[in-house]
C-alpha cells in the first residue's frame, strides 16, 4: 500500500485549496451529508436550471479525501446536464469500489480518486459528497437562505 497513491498531488491541492467552497446564493437544492465514522460533515448547494446543474458549491469539515472529492466533484459537474451527472455518479462509484474499472468517460482530475479503492476504510470519505449530491437533487426545490 502506497500512500502516494491515495494522497496524489491533485488531492492534496484540492484539500488545501478547495474549489467552490462556501454557500451558494442561487442554490435551489441543498442537502447535508454526514459520515459518523470520522465526523466528516458537508453541506452541498446546487443550483438546478432546467435540466442542467448551473452551479454548485459545498462547505463543511472533513478529511483530505472527503474535502478533495467534494472540491473535484463541484469542478467537474458545473454546467453538466442531470443525465450526465448520473453517469458521472455511476462512473465514480465504480472507480471507487471496483478493481480495474475503466470509466466510460474521461473523468479528468476525478481519476485521481482511483487510489482510494486500495484503502477500503476511506471509500466512504470519497463517496460522501456524491451521495449528498443525489440527496440534494432528490430533495424538493428549496430556496436557501444565505442571510
Amino acid at each position: 500500500m502506497d500512500l502516494k497513491d491515495l494522497y496524489r498531488d491533485v488531492i492534496v491541492d484540492h484539500n488545501r485549496r478547495p474549489r467552490n467552497f462556501g454557500p451558494l446564493a442561487s442554490a435551489n437544492h441543498v442537502a447535508e451529508g454526514h459520515n459518523p465514522l470520522c465526523g466528516d460533515r458537508l453541506t452541498l448547494y446546487v443550483d438546478v436550471e432546467g435540466d442542467k446543474v448551473a452551479d454548485l458549491s459545498f462547505e463543511g469539515n472533513g478529511c483530505a479525501i472527503s474535502v478533495a472529492s467534494a472540491s473535484l466533484m463541484t469542478e467537474a459537474l458545473k454546467g453538466r446536464s442531470l443525465a450526465e451527472v448520473r453517469d458521472y455518479f455511476d462512473d465514480v462509484h465504480k472507480l471507487l469500489t471496483e478493481r480495474d474499472y475503466t470509466p466510460r468517460r474521461d473523468l479528468g482530475k476525478l481519476a485521481a480518486l482511483s487510489g482510494v479503492r486500495e484503502f477500503p476504510a476511506r471509500v466512504k470519505c470519497a463517496s460522501l459528497c456524491w451521495h449528498t449530491l443525489v440527496a440534494a437533487l432528490e430533495s424538493e426545490r428549496q430556496p436557501v437562505s444565505t442571510e
Binding site: L3, Y7, N15, C38, A64, I65, F119
Partner: protein, 419 residues
C-alpha cells in the same frame, strides 16, 4: 526527532521482562503493511495473551456443554468452569459475594440493564440523573432513551479546558430530585481519571445511588468496589485482555435484590406456569438464556493472567510510557494534545494542524501503527473542544518506547504529506 525526549530504555519493567510480556501476546508479532505491528488502540480493544486463547480453545475441546442444566459430567464441568470464572471476577473487584457479579455482553449492556431495570422501577417524571460531559455514548444514550420515556431530566456536569471534572461543580448538581449519578471512572476519549471516590461519597451522603462506567479503568487501575463504595460498576472483558462478548455488572446485593428482571427466558426463572412465574435468585435473575460460557471462562483466564503480573511495576511502566508519549507527540510540529488532566491513564488524544485525524489514521496504518481516529463515541467531548475528531494513541503495558518513537516519526511524515 526522538532525540529531543529522554530515553526510557532503562524503564521500571526492565527490557527482558517486557520482552517476555510481549511474547505472551501472539498478535504482537504480526506485520502490518510490511512493518511490525505497533498496536496503540488498546482503549478500543486490547489484545489477548495466549493463556486466554488457550482457555477458550481448551474449554471448547474438553468441557463444553450447557451450564446449570444437565446432570451429565460435561454440563457439570462447564458449570464449574463458568461459575469459577464468576468467583475470579468477584475476587478481582472485591465484591462481597458472587451474587453481586452479573455476566453481561459488555459495559454497554450492563448500563442498559441498570437503566431498564433499576431505572424503570425507581425513577419518576421530573427525577434527575446526573452524568458528566466526559461520558461515552454508552453512558448517555440509555439514559436519554429512559428520560424520553419517563420524563426524566439529565443534568450534565461540565468539564474544564484540560478535560477534568470539578468536584465542587459536580456537588452543585446534586439536588433534591437527583435519583442516580452515573459517570466514567476513566474517560475513553481523553484518558482523564475522574475523582470517582469523592463523587461517589458525595452522592452516598445524600442517599443517591451511583453507577460507574469502568470500561477504561479496569485495564489500568486496581478496582475495589467496596473501597469505592459505588452501587453499580460496569466493565468489559475485551478491554482487559479478555474476550469480546463478555462483561460484568457489579451491583450492591440489596439493590439487585429489589430490582425486577430485565430480560425473560431460561436460567432466570425458578418455576414457570401460565398461572405465574417465579424468578431465580441472584445473579441468575439477570442472566436470561444461555450465557457466553467460553468468553466468561476466557475472562477468568485474563484475570488469572493480570493477577500474576507485578501490578506495581506494570502501573509505573504505563506511566513512564504515558509521560514519554506525551512529550514525544507534543514535540511534533503542529500537534495539539486534547485532554491534559493531572491524573490520566495511558491515553493520548491529539489533533494536527492542517491534517484531519482520519488522514493521520491512514498514514500511521501504512507504517503498521494502529491508532483510533474519530469521535471515540464521545461526541460531546469533541464538541466541547471544538474539534470534529481526534487521533488517539492508547497504550497497554506491552507497548514500548520504540513504538512511540515510530509514532512520532510517522506523525512528522504525515505533516510533510500535506505540507
Amino acid at each position: 526527532m526522538s532525540a529531543q525526549v529522554a530515553d526510557i530504555s532503562e524503564h521500571t519493567l526492565g527490557v527482558s521482562r517486557l520482552k517476555r510480556l510481549r511474547a505472551d501476546f501472539p498478535i504482537l508479532a504480526e506485520r502490518i503493511n510490511g512493518r511490525p505491528l505497533a498496536y496503540l488502540d488498546n482503549a478500543a480493544s486490547s489484545q489477548r495473551p495466549q493463556a486466554v486463547i488457550d482457555a477458550i480453545s481448551t474449554y471448547y475441546r474438553e468441557s463444553h456443554a450447557n451450564v446449570h442444566r444437565g446432570v451429565h459430567t460435561l454440563s457439570q464441568r462447564a458449570t464449574e468452569a463458568f461459575e469459577g470464572a464468576r468467583e475470579k471476577v468477584r475476587r478481582f473487584i472485591n465484591a462481597r459475594s458472587v451474587r453481586e457479579v452479573i455476566f453481561v455482553r459488555g459495559t454497554t449492556e450492563a448500563i442498559n440493564l441498570v437503566a431498564q431495570s433499576y431505572g424503570r422501577a425507581n425513577l419518576r417524571r421530573g427525577d434527575e440523573i446526573v452524568l458528566t460531559w466526559l461520558e461515552h455514548h454508552a453512558n448517555i444514550v440509555p439514559w436519554q432513551m429512559l428520560a424520553a420515556e419517563l420524563g426524566l431530566v439529565l443534568r450534565v456536569v461540565p468539564i474544564d479546558e484540560r478535560g477534568m471534572i470539578d468536584v465542587a461543580a459536580y456537588e452543585n448538581f446534586l439536588g433534591p430530585r437527583t435519583r442516580l449519578v452515573t459517570f466514567a471512572h476513566v474517560s475513553n476519549a481523553l484518558g482523564t481519571v475522574l475523582p470517582v471516590e469523592r463523587m461517589i461519597a458525595l452522592a452516598r451522603a445524600r442517599g443517591i445511588p451511583s453507577l460507574v462506567d469502568g470500561a477504561q479503568a479496569i485495564p489500568h487501575l486496581k478496582v475495589d468496589v467496596q473501597a469505592l463504595g459505588c452501587d453499580f460498576y460496569a466493565f468489559s472483558g475485551h478491554k482487559m485482555f479478555g474476550p469480546t462478548g463478555i462483561g460484568v455488572l457489579y451491583g450492591r446485593e440489596a439493590l439487585l435484590e429489589a430490582m425486577p428482571p430485565w430480560q425473560g427466558g431460561g436460567d432466570m426463572i425458578l418455576t414457570v406456569s401460565f398461572g405465574g412465574t417465579t424468578y431465580n435468585a441472584l445473579p441468575y435473575k439477570f442472566e436470561a438464556g444461555t450465557p457466553s460460557i467460553a468468553d466468561a471462562i476466557g475472562l477468568g483466564a485474563a484475570i488469572d493472567y493480570l493477577s500474576a503480573l507485578d501490578w506495581h511495576a506494570i502501573s509505573a511502566y504505563e506511566h513512564e510510557l504515558l509521560d514519554y508519549a506525551t512529550r514525544s507527540v507534543s514535540a511534533v510540529p503542529g500537534v495539539r494534545l486534547i485532554g491534559t488532566a493531572d491524573r490520566k491513564v495511558s491515553v493520548i488524544s491529539f489533533v494536527m494542524e492542517g491534517v484531519h485525524a482520519h488522514d493521520l489514521g491512514t498514514i500511521l496504518d501504512a507504517d503498521g501503527i494502529a491508532v483510533r481516529t474519530g469521535h471515540h463515541c464521545a461526541m460531546p467531548v469533541m464538541e466541547f473542544f471544538r474539534v470534529p475528531a481526534t487521533a488517539r494513541a492508547s497504550l497497554a503495558f506491552y507497548n514500548t518506547a520504540e513504538e512511540i518513537d515510530r509514532l512520532a516519526v510517522a506523525l512528522t511524515r504525515a505533516r510533510e504529506v500535506f505540507a
